[in-house]
Symmetry: C2
Subunit: 712 residues, 2 copies
């Protein structure tokens, strides 16, 4: 298993593509530093990441497309056992249970499991990322000693029983109850209604023998809100498993993808567990039924408990970036070899990637993927800071949650968009399972709605932006606007709060973009992107002000009338964070040519984001109609400049053909094209090629023998 990128083995370097009409190729041959760029894109934990990627070189761990559901599930369980045996799943856990206490490295490695099979990633995510993490973060040291060994070696496959049929994203409203019985010192876990059945749980349909069940904790007639309980659900029965008394469930059956994970439902009929099965870090019940918690506020307690599980969102976001990179590596490799329709010279056909439309389809996605990649490093750093304990204040945790809530929607939607555009850009070949794009898309589809629905997450981010805006405005009222702005300008670190310049836009509305300043200057792009977020938030805050004095019904209606805007503001905020991460990474690139190409790619990201929202910039006077017209032509020029480097850029992603396992990314298309061109060249040279009737017509016309052939 090697961890070195070998660009020579990966894809045809762009220099091998002969010049063809329609593309400026002046700089072909000036290769970028693929090795250094690859390391930058693989980030702080690049060695772990590459080792995890190379795990997928083992055929035992690879997805077999089209396997029947039952076989796929058993294969993935066996693969998960292999992972446990190889000790690659312990990394985030405490040393006391054999772990390495390396939360960041663990996620970096986990994210790359999607290369082997996204089902394996999610099966592992359920076991070690959700079930195990809940015990780790919500339980006490005794719980760790008692249950984590079985979690880690997979002798106790477990379900994470949070979601209910009736409540997806709204966890606080779940209806399963855990009622404390002082007489027996037990909790009674109960599912009172159909809507309270636990749903979509991995490991529930077949393999789970225990579950962490989230339920409303009721003791002494008071509901203390959602808490987590360790509940055994199955026992051995002959060679198989059967439900324990009071537990029942059903199988979700076939899904749109991820069919290696055995999702199912679970429900409970007055199932009793000992009092000590309450994972009691944030809330405990004494033998006599007295409730206690280190966090007084039930609301804050709830969000603190859920917050410990943020790693799901962080790692799904990282996986989505990895899969986007794979999709682009496949489509850009194929697009640099495939030819279609003859060009100006009539003897050879044009390479797909030389068509402007093909560049328009793929290169902005390449820019977004690199932006998302670099932004993910910052998210992962922040995650590691909190979970390693290095930066673990309440504020750090809240910022991390907001960043994850902003990142995951953008990256998971990006993955779907990239996979689909890649699949279409490869035509019919893209639809064949052997070329991986359709299978990956099927698997990734659910990433946009699980671990927090993307729209719900963006709304969370939007609410945070509004809260921060409110606080900033309050500060201005107290300290005076001028001093405030000066203070903010000095505070441009990466660890500032999500809404950075908050109220400044009220005072200073983007003079640079309206002036003659150049759209390709980083400061112009930053100003435009920042200004939009800030102005949108300020506008929504203003529109919502009457809600303070309104009835709850009116206030809810007013908020609802601005829900779409709020979600768009959150999206804009997430895009700004990606742009900033991209820009912050540029000075790290030493080779000037590589930095230049990467800066062009950053410009493409910035300008396509501005282009997408051009109407907003025009309506709000941030950009003149004259300048706006230049945005698209700038973008077109950037595409031409980036085209010669497209193959190098995806080579730097470090997914070699043996990782991609897509027939069309192996070079077969180039071989076929070469064979075809050699054949026709030979035929022409030997005079074996029949005369084309069109040419015959043209010659006859010249000598007056035929009618003019006007429709050709």
């Amino acid at each position: 298993m090697t961890t070195t990128v070998r660009p020579d083995q990966t894809v045809t370097p762009s220099a091998a593509t002969p010049p063809s009409p329609g593309a400026t190729r002046t700089d072909v041959g000036e290769h970028i530093d693929v090795e250094a760029l690859g390391k930058l894109l693989d980030g702080r934990w690049w060695e772990l990441r590459r080792a995890a990627r190379d795990l997928s070189l083992d055929p035992e761990l690879q997805k077999i497309e089209g396997l029947p559901v039952a076989e796929h599930r058993e294969r993935v369980l066996a693969q998960a056992r292999l992972l446990a045996e190889r000790g690659v799943v312990h990394r985030a856990y405490p040393a006391s249970v054999g772990g390495q206490e390396d939360p960041g490295g663990n996620l970096a490695s986990f994210e790359e499991l999607a290369v082997a099979d996204p089902s394996l990633q999610i099966k592992g995510g359920v076991q070690w990322g959700l079930f195990g993490s809940a015990i780790l973060h919500l339980g006490n040291a005794e719980h760790h000693q008692r249950w984590l060994p079985g979690v880690l070696d997979l002798s106790v496959p477990g379900a994470f029983a949070m979601t209910e049929i009736g409540h997806g994203s709204d966890v606080a409203a779940i209806a399963t109850t855990a009622t404390y019985d002082e007489a027996t010192e037990e909790f009674v876990i109960h599912t009172p209604i159909t809507a309270a059945r636990k749903e979509f749980l991995g490991n529930a349909a077949l393999h789970g023998v225990a579950a962490v069940v989230f339920a409303q904790l009721i003791t002494r007639g008071v509901n203390h809100g959602v808490h987590a309980f360790y509940v055994p659900i199955r026992e051995k029965s002959g060679s198989g498993l059967r439900y324990l008394p009071g537990v029942d469930g059903s199988d979700d059956g076939l899904k749109g993808g991820l069919n290696g994970v055995d999702n199912g439902r679970l429900w409970f009929d007055h199932v009793r567990v000992p009092r000590t099965n309450l994972l009691n870090r944030y809330g405990d019940v004494a033998p006599d039924g007295t409730y206690s918690s280190p966090i007084d506020s039930p609301g804050r307690r709830f969000f603190t408990m859920l917050g410990t599980l943020v790693q799901g969102r962080v790692s799904l976001s990282g996986s989505a970036v990895s899969v986007s990179k794979m999709a682009l590596a496949i489509a850009i490799t194929y697009g640099s070899q495939r030819r279609q329709f003859t060009g100006a010279d009539e003897t050879s056909e044009v390479v797909l990637l030389d068509y402007q439309q093909h560049q328009r389809r793929l290169l902005p996605l390449l820019a977004r993927t690199v932006a998302a990649n670099l932004a993910h490093h910052e998210l992962l750093d922040r995650f590691d800071g909190v979970f390693s304990g290095e930066h673990d204040t309440d504020d750090d945790r809240q910022d991390l949650e907001t960043l994850a809530a902003a990142a995951k929607p953008l990256t998971t939607w990006l993955a779907l968009e990239t996979l689909q555009e890649a699949r279409e850009a490869c035509g019919g070949a893209g639809y064949m399972a052997e070329n991986r794009l359709v299978g990956l898309r099927q698997d990734m589809d659910v990433y946009v709605t699980f671990e927090g629905d993307n729209n719900v997450l963006l709304q969370l981010v939007g609410k945070r932006l509004l809260t921060d805006y409110g606080k900033e405005m309050a500060k201005i009222d107290i300290a005076g606007a001028a001093r405030y702005v000066a203070a903010r300008a000095a505070d441009m670190t990466l660890h500032r709060t999500p809404l950075r310049r908050a109220a400044q836009s009220v005072l200073d509305s983007g003079s640079r973009a309206r002036s003659a300043g150049h759209l390709r200057e980083a400061d112009t792009q930053r100003e435009l992107l920042e200004d939009r977020v800030e102005a949108m938030v300020a506008e929504i805050a203003g529109a919502l002000r009457p809600a303070r004095n309104a009835s709850p019904v009116e206030a809810a209606a007013l908020f609802n009338a601005h829900q779409h805007e709020l979600i768009e503001a959150a999206r804009a905020h997430g895009e700004l964070l990606q742009w900033e991460a991209f820009t912050a990474a540029l000075p790290k690139v030493r080779d000037p040519r590589t930095r230049e190409v990467l800066t062009t790619l950053r410009d493409l990201y910035g300008l396509t984001m501005i282009e997408k929202n051009l109407a907003w910039y025009l309506m709000n006077g941030r950009i003149s109609a004259q300048r706006a017209k230049t945005v698209t032509s700038y973008v077109d020029r950037l595409l031409v400049r980036l085209r010669p480097h497209a193959v190098d850029l995806v080579t730097a992603f470090g997914y070699r053909p043996e990782h991609l396992r897509a027939t069309i990314a192996t070079g077969v298309e180039a071989e076929r094209q070469d064979e075809a061109r050699a054949y026709f060249r030979r035929r022409r040279a030997a005079g074996q090629e029949p005369v084309n009737e069109k040419i015959l017509h043209a010659n006859q016309q010249k000598s007056g023998m035929a009618e003019p052939d006007e429709d050709d």
Copy 2:
């Protein structure tokens, strides 16, 4: 089998949804005329369409999700045999072979087969729409008598061997050859290179015993271009089939969807067929090898031959509309029942469809789907006119091809977008195969690249727009601008050429939209949409003018630099056609309330198209910044107005739960919600509900017993 829409059986009527915060519900209860609207949307051949839809009520014809590929293929073959037995596949064929010569009715009926299983539709499309149609349209009466009976009764399953691995959309460049041998009066069909292997052919992997093979016809040393040949490929061997000598092939295996169709490759090693196996309607070879054709120009001949196969594009477009309707029926039914997060009153949760973002996600797609539905009727009418012989001039055929090339990209992309948004709007439930959305999306995915890649088709439309623009400009030069404009204004029928007002925009640039005129007036919307197409085409034409005097290489580069714009112009043209079809249909609605709701839906379509391209309108001075800001708030108001009618509108689509076969569209969600609310009501009434800790805190605070709970 009934063909009547029974709205009572379909989905919960909107009146049953109780009012909830955030939505204006003043007009709830004023139902639209679902029956009449249903008939309008089912169009001219509504009876055939409904009968075909009801075919899917037979479990034998229904798709079983997750069937292994081999079983699915055999099931679909058996289903196709059932269709043949029931005589529903003959409709388009001549009376001489048992047909009814009803091309429009045939397609209307064929389009609805996607309800049963899109694989069945495509299997049928290969057999009767491509293989059979090629014999019908490219062959002579003797060919019809000899081969069509076997095609129709499916005793001769056939492949349509046009596409090659090396050439997808560029059919003119295929490399398979059919060389005439005078000595034996045979054609020699040959695959000279790997890239010339026929690829992605339905019926090729398993079931096909013959194929219509497209190849370069070479006789007497001259290549006369692509022609079609009837070529037997397999013979019986024991209980199975084996390749005939010289024929070989391979199986494409698993695909992203449509796995009931046995796609594969075919190639030929000097396979000999009699001279009379040339489908010779547009080009023939005499025994002595002399070539003749009723069409002199090889280019026109090629496009005439391919043009006979336009029905594939027309019917795929219609199917895509049907599937979009199914997806919306599922998601809107579920969205009108599903509740998530408590509203202002704290005791009941808000129905998803009352959230603004949910409306934003689904209702514009509903408007686009109805627009596409009504536009499809016009396309189908035009198709019927040409193929019934009623309006069958060269111009009619060219217009039909341009219309189909504009329609198919828009509708097939709409279907994918709608299926995906519907799937996400249904959350995890949308990802379950039992709810159909993921399976339909997998099947429909390939519709955007087969039967003409969507981007290639839009480029074709763009080129036609440029050609028409050139002709119009030439007319102006001759006849004088003023007289021309007057003449065009009078020529506003539905059968005008694709680019209707062509050069008028040069003379008159949209005064209404800039003036105080209302954006909701139909004339304003029309002017804005038309003006954009025309101005874009004029601008591209202007930019391409230097190509006339440029070298071929420079001309190709110049064209390529405007490829993206040209494709966008074609898309805008397609959207305009849909808007016009929607508007033209409004007077046909008799019930005033229904017409009002449908007009609001048309406005939503028009305004969301304008909103999408707002930057263009602003940059080009068609709309002021002030007016542009009102577009989004107009859209928001339309959503609120349409919300109460959303369920009625999808009921009018006529897909009942037994057509949809999606668990979440059967009312189970409403049952679960009702059960849950009744349970909590009962508990509250009986005083069994535990006190919520939050409320306890609030009470303690009031009496000064606890710290303020600031974070709730």
